[in-house]
Symmetry: C2
Subunit: 698 residues, 2 copies
């Protein structure tokens, strides 16, 4: 119905190139899965300095310690997820681990957290990307919210259209970003330590003046340091992505995934620490409220001041503002952040499909790469992210406050689940070498669970009032809706379970077939021919007389054509179609309650939506009503009009559409290589299971 | 799907009281059909004075002559329609007359004109009603547009909900209005002529100053007088309503209708002339642009001045402003105008149903009182009227410029058609007495056609640039859309005509039945049982394996239950449902092109729209795709879940809904009294026409 406007907007659907069939080597897998965690280097260091600035610039000297704590946590989480990857090579990720080991509620909690997280990944990454781009292009910095919303719209359209995702698409910007940041660190170290040059960030000469500029002590300081640490933990978001993508790796899958994870951890740590150290060395100043707290030449910066991200300030100090490497790094940073946002577009429907399989979401979302289901997910994700971006003025700092809760909920539950997993295996394993390995893994996961749990508590305490409550509310909402859907499906399943002995006793005995007739044209003739083939016990044609003349003509033609099926005419004084048919069918059923009524409806198949409005409306409504009448089956006998060819072509194009995100999902699982979907053998393999031979249907 | 919000807005549907079954006596028929033409007395006299004022107050003395011309025309039209009523007692109205006698194009032109007219009836009547109400309640006059739009919304909701229309509903306000106006005329004449009192309208002391205040002469004056006459012709709108409603009259229908028509003409003429004469006697001043042209105490009236309708000014002069009779008349006038608007709500869908019967509009509109079709018409009508009201600031004077074109198009074509009608009859009639009567009728209709045609030309010339072009554009639009729809239906009918001998030669030979299975629950069991009853040549159960474990369980259960139908399993690596089924069906068809594939789909029937989202989506899409696959019939085997009871109740309520306007349509035509829709005999009567006995279906 809405195909035309959609096509105008989204263009022609891309053909599926079945990219998901090819497995990823490590050098491609790294950028595909790591764009999200690596890109967080663009905002995490700044957040640490920002929080510390509350206690004055002097508090900045705590930042290396906080960076060290974040790196330790990062390594812990990476080490933990290396265990996950080995134990669950199916790529189920945190949801699977939590569900299997901790039960459905924990799993659903993780799922809710991840769904919220995907929304925030989009919001934070795009806000930060726009800020980075804005550091090179002031115009963008001045229209941040608009630019962020437009980027969301663009990404959404791209994904709705079907992105031909390829490893290269991810590899080039990610490697550009990593190379750029590493080159910056290296060149900064050389200039500072070797050449002894003085590098000054654009904000080096500014001062910070806050309420607590004199310094904090005791509990207040500890709380502030914990809050700074919480903010730094933004660097850990997305680490779990690889554990969802194990099937996409080349063999040996688990080992390759684990090694990629380690590599990613190492790069992220180097970049994070490098940026923090350079920021200190170049005297970068970040203030939580730059308008009032940042003092430039003795005056507050004022509302017009745009605070650039740390990474861009460091680049300005090391390379010089406006130089080619500076602009290159800003562009690469923005691009990798947009790619990170794009990963959420891929992850959201994938998680939805898994949740649908477990009946927490509508079943139809289960279909892999189904365009319709996919689109709904995309639009939901984009809408939620856009709302957040608008509410928070595309300010990455304020959005990050919401971000980390979900990540650590899933980290903690996943690691706790892993501990249970090893406990269960240890209870059965007798091989000492294996037991040693398991003990080690359990220790790592337990430590991971402890650390991430601790961080979760810290994050909740330090950030609750800053925005974490919004995330919790979102999680609660998802949790409630999914629980409700599952309950509905369970109730229906119970109602439908074939355990009713009565059902088998009162078997239907005969079939009355009714063919609805309005004219003696081809669709009617076909419907009659088909109805005759389905040998029912009685067969009659039924017409509703809404116009005496037309009915008389039909009767005449019926007689002349020597039809061997009786024509029954029902009068309809109010020119209704539905009611007389329903009443007739009900009467038939009342007279013979054990019989079944089969209603054949000839249908026109047209190709354009406005043609659809001109046909079948009565048939459609009649079918709708007949569904509520027990003991009735409704058969559509379609007649394809010439224009239906259009719709067939359209449907074919839709079927060939390739769902974004196929690269990271890996190839589809084929239970048996010989039983493809066009292989007749598959069916025969199945039909052996049935009792009787195929040709006997009664 | 959208039932809940609708019900919150529109309330519970009213039960049908089958009021349409009772026939109308003349005393009730008069108000039912005459509220539209009688209510035009509320604005037509004012329009005459308004146009004349352009040539200064001195031109007012032409107004009795113009009133006389209008009355002559009114009597001509009434006399003409008395012939229509006698010749076409079926109530087809102008559209039927024009189509039968002048061909389809003329008929379609009349239909387009009438459709536009209904929209304008709503807009003009409500605008005028609000102005009349505003003359008693200044607050309403100050918020005219808002009040008019709210009234449209209110009328729309009332009509969507289903108004329990009754003769009394119309009788009381219409008789109040007629009595009020007549009393005012009588009291005015007594006060003025008998008691010799001086009655002064509120505007009696004002002056009018226009460009042409010095008076016009020659062509310019003639043109102005013609324009004033055109405006006065607004009094004739709605005269044709009775000719549509002949079936609703008591017997002798035609004579009663003709007499009612005459009575209506008489009342309208008396009221129209009375108001004009009293307006002159009380020195009412109306200006086309009161803000600048109306001089109060030497100064222009200014933008804040609200010009009250003539009828209310006369009432103020005769009864005194604010007295009980004054307020009573203002309320009765507004009420009768709103009733007039309501008649359009009844007429629009009725005409739509007739047009649908002739395939100029979608077929489903044909159903009488079908709620869905009716609703669409109502919303379309209300939307168009509301747009006009907003564009023209609810100014009845500006709206009337658009109004009269459509009316006179249909008058002229209808009367011309009647002339042809009598010519045709005269060619065959031999009885001299009858011939004399026919000659007389033809003369009346010819005179009517001539007069209305002349007025149409006058209206087009004098009003084209004032707004008549908008009506013509609207008519063109309706004409184009209806022609397009008819062409589509004709093309389809041609494509479907069962004249292809090949069609009969290549007969389908066998049926492959496929039952889609996902679980072994009750709906599946029922679908299998039904499919078995419909003895096809082969029968197999088909399942799509999207989850290896679920499929294995299904296979196990299938085996255990000792099913006598083979189970075929198709693998779907991409977890798709639709494509594997379509491909399988296509392969079956390719192997045996003469065979037919019958696909049985078990369906859950639920009661709430959000439950619908959770079920059947795959089935729905599969059905959609299968329709495009030739040689396939699709059978839904519904399983009614407990919640479907809700939907059944809802459907029943909808079926019991009573369409507004049933009073004026008269009772439904029942071809044979004994063959009601619950009468088994009707069916048997029909089945005699068929060849074979009912129990034999092949």
């Amino acid at each position: 119905m809405t195909h035309l406007p959609k096509r105008l907007l989204l263009g022609r659907a891309l053909r599926s190139d079945r990219l998901g069939e090819t497995l990823l080597p490590k050098r491609i897998a790294l950028p595909v899965f790591a764009s999200d965690p690596l890109s967080s280097v663009a905002y995490a260091p700044g957040e640490v300095l920002l929080v510390l600035s509350i206690a004055g610039v002097s508090a900045y000297h705590f930042s290396p310690w906080i960076a060290a704590a974040v790196v330790v946590l990062l390594f812990t989480v990476v080490a933990s997820y290396r265990q996950n990857v080995r134990a669950y090579p199916s790529g189920g990720g945190d949801y699977e681990v939590a569900t299997t080991n901790l039960g459905a509620r924990a799993g659903l909690t993780v799922a809710s957290a991840l769904l919220v997280d995907y929304v925030l990944t989009v919001a934070v990454s795009i806000a930060s990307g726009v800020e980075n781009l804005g550091s090179a292009v002031p115009f963008i910095a001045e229209h941040k919210t608009l630019a962020a919303v437009l980027t969301i719209v663009l990404l959404t359209l791209m994904n709705l259209r079907g992105v031909r995702e390829s490893g290269k698409l991810f590899a080039i910007p990610t490697y550009c970003f990593v190379t750029g940041v590493c080159a910056m660190i290296l060149w900064g170290v050389i200039r500072g330590a070797v050449l002894g040059q003085d590098m000054r960030a654009p904000t080096a000469g500014y001062e910070i003046q806050t309420e607590h500029s004199g310094g904090l002590a005791g509990f207040a300081l500890a709380f502030l340091l914990l809050r700074a640490f919480s903010s730094g933990c933004a660097a850990l978001t997305g680490v779990e992505a690889i554990s969802n993508g194990v099937p996409a790796f080349r063999k040996p899958k688990s080992r390759n995934a684990a090694n990629t994870l380690a590599m990613m951890g190492l790069i992220a740590a180097v970049m994070f620490c490098g940026v923090i150290v350079l920021a200190l060395a170049t005297d970068v100043k970040m203030a939580e409220n730059p308008a009032t707290d940042l003092i430039i030449n003795g005056h507050p910066a004022g509302g017009g001041y745009q605070q650039n991200p740390v990474i861009s300030q460091v680049a300005a100090a090391v390379f010089g503002e406006g130089t080619f490497p500076f602009v290159f790094l800003a562009a690469a940073t923005a691009l990798v952040l947009f790619l990170a946002a794009n990963t959420a577009y891929n992850g959201f429907p994938l998680l939805g499909s898994i949740l649908a399989q477990d009946r927490y979401l509508p079943r139809q979302l289960h279909t892999r790469g189904d365009r319709l289901a996919f689109s709904n997910g995309i639009v939901l994700l984009a809408g939620a992210a856009a709302i957040l971006v608008v509410i928070y003025d595309a300010d990455s700092t304020r959005l990050i406050q919401l971000y980390i809760v979900g990540v650590f909920v899933s980290f903690t539950l996943s690691q706790t689940g892993m501990v249970r997993h090893w406990n269960r295996l240890l209870a059965e394993e007798r091989d000492p070498a294996a037991r040693v390995r398991m003990h080690r893994s359990r220790a790592i996961n337990a430590f991971g669970a402890f650390c991430t749990g601790l961080v979760l508590v810290v994050v909740l305490i330090t950030k609750f009032s800053h925005g974490a409550w919004v995330s919790l509310l979102g999680m609660l909402l998802f949790y409630g809706v999914m629980t409700g859907i599952r309950r509905h499906y369970d109730l229906v399943a119970e109602e439908l379970a074939a355990d009713d002995p009565d059902e088998k006793r009162v078997r239907p005995s005969r079939v009355h077939s009714i063919v609805l007739v309005s004219k003696t044209h081809k669709p009617t003739m076909r419907a009659l021919a088909y109805a005759r083939l389905m040998r029912s016990d009685t067969l009659e044609a039924l017409t509703i007389s809404v116009d005496a003349e037309e009915t008389a003509q039909l009767r005449r033609e019926w007689e002349e054509s020597g039809m061997d099926v009786p024509l029954k005419i029902l009068d309809s004084p109010y020119r209704e179609i539905t009611r007389p048919v329903i009443e007739y069918v009900k009467r038939l059923r009342k007279e013979n309650p054990r019989d079944v009524v089969s209603v054949f409806i000839p249908e026109y198949v047209v190709g354009r939506w406005y043609e659809q409005l001109l046909h079948n409306q009565s048939a459609l409504r009649l079918k709708g009503r007949l569904l509520y009448t027990p003991g009735v089956m409704v058969t559509s006998v379609p007649w394809q009009l010439e224009s239906s060819e259009l719709a067939r072509k359209r449907a074919r194009r839709c079927a060939e559409w390739s769902a974004p995100g196929s690269v990271r999902r890996g190839p589809a699982v084929r239970p048996g290589a010989g039983r493809t979907r066009t292989d007749r053998g598959a069916g025969n393999g199945g039909s052996r299971e049935g009792g009787g031979p195929g040709g006997e249907g009664t």
